[in-house]
């Protein structure tokens, strides 16, 4: 990102310098400006961005694998419930996740449309009644992250928040066990 920004900055500076330094001006013929500034550079930039987005998009698809973990998310006015398949644990407004692992969140709602969003971990996804949407997220560093409802859902929408605790793998099991004991 920094490298790309530097290149664009330098190119724009060169074009601007042409306004002040007459000796540069002959280099900046309209044909060159249109060909390079209007066609070659944007095409290269867009191709790189599209290729990046395509490969990243394929990697983010929630394919069932041994490595991925699945957590079920149920939204309702005005709280979040998290269920951890394979365990009897269900937590309210607190989400436990292990660090460094892809997690597929299967998100649904019991009443109106909500939206599940942990801004620091990536994109949001709608929680729709009668429908399961899946979003794949991953926390790379342990810690606490904030989560919110990102779709207006009624009077209690604004405070409809939850806390995400990302544990080291061994602490994750312990956290679920202690939740189960509650």
């Amino acid at each position: 990102m920094l490298a790309g920004a530097t290149v664009i900055f330098l190119a724009t500076s060169l074009a601007l310098a042409g306004a002040f330094i007459p000796s540069i001006r002959p280099l900046l013929t309209p044909k060159r400006l249109i060909l390079w500034g209007g066609l070659v550079v944007p095409s290269l930039g867009l191709t790189a961005l599209v290729a990046g987005a395509f490969t990243l998009g394929e990697r983010l698809l929630p394919r069932q694998g041994a490595e991925t973990l699945r957590i079920e998310v149920v939204a309702r006015q005005f709280a979040w419930e998290f269920r951890y398949p394979g365990t009897p644990v269900a937590t309210r407004d607190v989400l436990h996740i292990p660090v460094g692992r892809d997690i597929d969140f299967a998100v649904t709602s019991e009443d109106v449309i909500h939206s599940f969003w942990i801004p620091r971990l990536g994109g949001k996804i709608d929680a729709i009644p009668g429908h399961k949407n899946i979003v794949r997220l991953r926390a790379d560093a342990p810690g606490t992250y904030g989560g919110i409802c990102a779709e207006y859902c009624g009077e209690g929408h604004a405070p409809m928040r939850f806390i995400v605790i990302a544990h080291a793998p061994e602490d994750y099991e312990a956290a679920l066990t202690s939740e189960a004991a509650r």
């Binding site: 867009l46 191709t47 599209v50 395509f54 998009g57 394929e58 698809l61 929630p62 394919r63 069932q64 899946i134």
Partner: protein, 120 residues
Amino acid sequence: MIDATSGRKILLLSLAAGFGLWAVAFVALYAMLSIGCAFGWDRGSLVLGLSLQRLQLLLLLGIFLALHVALVVGLSARQQRSDTATDRFLHSAARLAAIAALAASMFTYCGTVLLTTCNP
């Protein structure tokens, strides 16, 4: 008979023809992608290991690319028959826009060939 003014109105519209076609292709591909996913057309293979979903999307893309080429060819043919300078300019602008739209369609819809179509 088309008089000069109405003929030029059609010419003006033809400036947008290429990218209009691009937009129609976008809506059509998006709609058919969603319909295919809803009906589970991506499961199993029909011919040569390709699913019904992939085949119908490729067919649709093929039709739109052919329409794009036809538009470029049609505008090129009409360009040669234009008499005034204004008409020549409009024709050549419309033709170049149609060529850009063909390139844009190939670029933006190339994912149809490669990418996973539905959420697994």
